[in-house]
Symmetry: C2
Subunit: 424 residues, 2 copies
């Protein structure tokens, strides 16, 4: 990959990255005006958009419109007149463009966890003679818990088999019903090879479910290019849909008619408003809807997705890598006591990085108090997200120096930083 | 029950109900000021609050605060600082007060459909040697579909047995794992005897799940008084939580430790932020959470619940009955061609009524065009909801005369009223 640092032609060495040079990168950034489309509080460098994306300015007005006009004035009529009923598929179609999917392959619904259960249940029913759900230890916990739950409902001798990332591909065999992996690891940001794992699974007749929560809107995802089967993803991280925004799910067109969700809700029925006693799955992706969709959530998410669609994905991906490299390289120089646990090669990781430090929790609290917001992931990780739509190179520079200052000063040893909050 | 009409002491006969008398009832109504707390569009009589409750005025400001301040300025910190993490249990505790439950027995989460699946799965796992899920034909379809789905994931010889309402109690036997019923029927508004059915089920060691979607906030519900096991309910009907608002679920304290949701999401984990690979259910009702809660949805719902809690439930229930009686009695006089399909005795029905008419769909479209908003339920029902917080006696009077006028005039025969919308 072309390194951003190559641009600094007058210097050869890494320590020649200067603040004026960084400021110039911001001026040349093709995404530089996107930042103006977000409400960002002053004095904050927000490196946790991979956990909760910030508020797009347009969301306030849109939510006010949905509440006051569509709900307040339109009342029940808005299901038709303001097309609420179509929103899950409409927003799904927009997300499809970010992940290499086709129109009609993605729908917005429920939470990532619930969508995983739907797809796991559908996959297990489609491979009834196989015994293994394959994943990796340390996968995002809800993924493993939902697999445990999906397996627990079935009395056949199914097992959840966890293999380290590097052994996954070799562990796929004729006994594998479904491989379930998070594409970009939520802690390390390590990327799984979607194409190779999918190909291996298909060779053995297994299905694959990808969790795109830490990928969508941040790195290149090409579901159909990889012949992916199924995927889920989160709406409140890089898509900036708001706290607890609904999630999405993808099912390849070639599989939609063969798969049925175990969560047979009325909104996934072929004729929901005929109110008949027997379930009859809708054609296409709509069958993976369940209950009544959260309209505030879906329409808030739509604003975030629309904002992202106004940028070129390759610009987002490129800038993500440069921000990430800049941060890691700076910290390697100025704060070597932080141990990088993410892959060292930027091409092997998603849009966040994690460093371990035994006092990670307290350090992160001290950083947050100083306006650098990342997050802590137990037991000892400091995690920082790079969100190209609003993060500037100068922010990353400033954040790196703040991190080094906090770590070296020992200010994190103040007892108040040791107090654990409910959410870490 | 004390009949409202007894108040008209100078007249003996029903046809003596006069418009001035009706207006006086509105002036004497203890709930008369609640109406001012809602945004109600002019020229509309809204009798569909049982499908989508209208917008409480306070919701606009609260949602703006949540979006602009809590999300926009607080960002990820609001999970702690604005207590988002506690919202599902906090709002659950408030709903508990409307349904005869204790603090710690109700949680707000997901959709009604998804919550049904959780409770069905938990109940079936707790009664592994029993073969029958008992319900009634014509129950709200999503309930039956979710039961079908929950049964379908298990390979033991389970069946969904449907018995007419009047035969349910006799159909409960030692083979019954779980009885699942909608407390107030979504079409007819017929009320099941929660106490008697629960007692019979317990006698035979079965569990009962009540769907309170058409009960909560409209009629008296006393879950613990009836020794109920489990319940779910809807947030966007009488609770006025907004389109697709999250639902709630109840599990009796005496059962919480024995039941585990098949949807083992990370928010139901005992230590969600330790990110460990194995699921370990949280203590108490929190274990029935699944994915990240929809914060916009939960906090919008809280406004609706708070509004309701400012009134006395007995006033709401009393007025609901009087509104309902007035409407039914007026229509019996002035529009006898409509066939009441709801129980004739107001004490036997919930807070809506349905009438059948072969041209029900077109009639409802003509009514909506004239500002009387009820809804149509296939194949031939006109449904009208009574929502005591904002509906006046004079509205019900006016609505009844509009219904009579539309039905008698034949204006509904206009072809434009036959065009079916996506949502009916």
């Amino acid at each position: 990959m072309h390194r951003k640092f190559d641009k600094i032609t007058t210097f050869e060495r890494r320590d020649a990255i200067t603040y004026p040079a960084i400021r110039r990168w911001d001026q040349e950034d093709p995404l530089r005006h996107r930042r103006e489309e977000f409400e960002l509080p002053g004095g904050i460098i927000y490196m946790d958009g991979n956990s909760l994306g910030p508020l797009p300015k347009a969301t306030r007005g849109r939510i006010e419109e949905v509440v006051a006009k569509e709900w307040g004035q339109g009342l029940i009529r808005s299901w038709n007149e303001h097309h609420w009923i179509d929103a899950p598929l409409r927003v799904g179609d927009k997300i499809a463009r970010l992940i290499g999917a086709r129109s009609g392959e993605v729908v917005v619904a429920d939470s990532t966890s619930v969508n995983l259960f739907k797809l796991l249940g559908a996959a297990l029913a489609a491979r009834p003679d196989r015994c293994v759900v394959l994943s990796e230890p340390g996968n995002f916990p809800t993924d493993l818990y939902m697999a445990e739950g999906a397996i627990g409902t079935r009395s056949c001798p199914l097992q959840l088999r966890l293999e380290p990332a590097e052994r996954i591909i070799d562990a796929i065999d004729a006994n594998t019903a479904v491989v379930m992996l998070t594409h970009v690891h939520y802690k390390t940001a390590a990327i799984h090879d979607m194409r190779a794992i999918t190909a291996k699974a298909h060779e053995h007749g297994a299905l694959v479910i990808w969790d795109l929560s830490h990928s969508v809107g941040a790195i290149e995802v090409d579901l159909n290019g990889c012949e992916a089967d199924m995927a889920v993803g989160c709406g409140y991280k890089y898509l900036n849909g708001g706290p607890g925004a609904p999630a999405f799910l993808f099912v390849s067109q070639r599989l939609q008619d063969q798969l049925t969700s175990p969560l047979k809700g009325w909104m996934g029925h072929n004729r929901p408003f005929e109110f008949i006693d027997n379930y009859e799955p809708a054609n296409g992706i709509r069958r993976f809807l369940c209950g009544t969709p959260s309209i505030l959530g879906v329409l808030s998410l739509e604003v975030g997705v629309d904002l992202m669609l106004r940028s070129r994905m390759q610009d987002i991906v490129q800038k993500s890598r440069w921000l990430s490299e800049l941060f890691v390289d700076l910290l390697a120089d100025i704060c070597p006591s932080l141990q990088l646990v993410s892959p060292a090669n930027v091409n092997d990781r998603g849009s966040h990085v994690s460093f371990s430090h035994p006092e990670g929790y307290a350090i992160m609290q001290a950083l947050i108090e100083r306006g650098v917001i990342g997050d802590f992931r137990a037991p000892d990780l400091l995690r920082f997200g790079f969100t190209p739509l609003y993060l500037r190179y100068q922010d990353v520079w400033d954040a790196a120096y703040t991190v080094a200052d906090v770590v070296h000063s020992g200010c994190w040893a103040d007892p108040r930083y040791a107090v654990r909050a409910a959410v870490t």
